[in-house]
Amino acid sequence: MSVEIVSDLMRDYIYRLASGGQRTDGRALDEPRKLVIEKGLITTAEGSARVHLGKTEVLVGVKMATGEPYPDTPNTGVLSTSVELIPMASPTFEAGPPRPDAIELARVVDRGIRESKMVNVGRLCITPKEKVWVMFIDIHVLDYDGNLFDAASYGAVAALASTVVPAKAQGVGEDFPLPVEHWPVSVTVAKIKDLLLVDPSLDEERMARARLTATTDENGDIRAMQKGLSGSFSYDEVKRVIETSQKVGRGIRPLLQS
């Protein structure tokens, strides 16, 4: 839509449909959009993935470099995640330094990956206390049609899964695939009045009062959560979101792993 606000008419229509268990694109309330993942398409990156979640499109590149470890973790690799909401992705995105929403997005995606121990960073030490591998995850949003939290996360996970550590070029041994041991899956739910909608489309997201992202691992354990927007969730709703995330996550995980 060219307007950034959703008209009252459409708000009523979306809510009315959703009250009957349906959404404007025919989905059920707990149904995510079609997810398409393509890996390894950027050869200048050590790992890459392109994600289509419905019409939202995100491109993620993983660049590996060597660098100093953090002082409190002297023998483990470093993870650094950044998001660019480039202006072509939406008429609402402006060029310039990352705004709070881009920063929040990067940090939430990072948290899910880091806390799930997706990558075995212990195996990314080259010289203890001096030199470790640094993973730069750069998330480039190309087309915004709702739910960047999940699209960005799926892209980052898929890109990491496709990453090959360029040890040879750095003269520290043979190339090896990035050691991936866990699979975090992010699922975002938007709250419209009293209804919970999984994987919100653009209009649904624009009219939502509150949003909750829950990232679970392959055991169904919670690794990251983020509540957003200015509305609220009841405790019951929070539990429902987590259960939904576990369920929907199970369906999505194989797509990230393949």
Binding site: K63, I86, P87, A89, P91, P97, F136, L142, D143, D145
Partner: protein, 280 residues
């Protein structure tokens, strides 16, 4: 051009038989693929693969120009932003514009400013975005070529497309369309952009060392190659819409039962309704 202190002695960019490292001859383009209409939100878009380059271009506009004090009451602004993704180059590039990106953005804006019918849209801006997803030298040419397609895809009226290409000198030989290694270790690079119908040059840059003679050779190669690139641009735009015509005809042919009634000429009715003299 990078300052190269040690050019590897073994690195012969072009051999005695005129064959380059990637097997091309001096006047050969790298493989190019162009697709129009690849994004949903943008008003127009295009994707170009050019050798190892992967470039995405998108256009919004004409739309209200912001900030207001920049608006031109007589015409549209034409503003291009060229940017390289951090993962597009071997050594990760920090996000955000650098001086090179700013310069390239400027010269590309100026190139399109000369062909877009700006006077039709006062106080607006035509915003062009070029994003390099994977770089292999010649990104501004690939970006400009993609952007021209994106502008047409967006329905912005233009006098013509703009086509862009570069030539340079490697190993003493003037060659078309340098790749990354050739650009890094060669002696000159000269990107240009041309309005195909009129031959007007709307972008021209050069760095390195060329004699006047070599420059003319280089331009000759680029201008000639531009014709082939223009064909690819035009095909990409036509393909964007012609597939739907093919589909409906294929479906009609495959269907059982009575064939569809002869052509409904709805566009003629639009002509009837057209009292408009909105053309330039």
């Amino acid at each position: 051009m990078e300052d190269i202190e040690h050019i590897p002695k073994e690195l012969k960019l072009i051999d005695e038989n005129g064959v380059r490292l990637d097997g091309r001859r001096f006047d050969e383009l790298r493989p190019i693929r162009i697709e129009a209409g690849v994004l949903g939100r943008a008003d127009g878009s295009a994707y170009v693969e050019w050798g190892g380059n992967k470039v995405l271009a998108a256009v919004y506009g004409p739309r209200e120009a912001h900030p207001r004090h920049l608006q031109d009451p007589a015409r549209a602004l034409v503003q291009c932003r060229y940017n390289m993704a951090p993962f597009s180059v071997s050594d990760r590039k920090r996000p955000g514009p650098d001086r090179r990106s700013v310069e390239i953005s400027k010269v590309i804006s100026e190139a399109f400013s000369s062909v877009i019918f700006k006077e039709q849209f006062p106080r607006t801006s035509v915003d062009i975005f070029i994003e390099v997803l994977q770089a292999d030298a010649g990104t501004r040419c690939a970006g400009l070529t993609a952007a021209a397609v994106a502008i047409a895809d967006a329905g912005v009226p233009m006098k013509d497309l703009v086509t862009s290409c570069a030539s340079g000198k490697i190993g003493g030989v003037v060659c078309l369309d340098l790749n990354k290694d050739e650009d890094n270790f060669g002696e000159a690079d000269c990107p240009m952009a041309i309005v195909p119908r009129t031959g007007e040059i709307v972008l021209l840059q050069m760095d390195g060392h060329l004699t006047y003679d070599e420059f003319q050779k280089a331009m000759g190669l680029s201008i000639d190659a531009a014709k082939r690139i223009y064909d690819l641009q035009r095909d990409a735009l036509r393909r964007r819409y012609s597939t739907t015509v093919d589909e409906i005809l294929r479906e009609a042919a495959a269907a059982p039962a009575p064939s569809p009634a002869p052509a409904e000429v709805a566009f003629d009715s639009q002509l009837d309704d057209l009292g408009r003299e909105g053309s330039p």
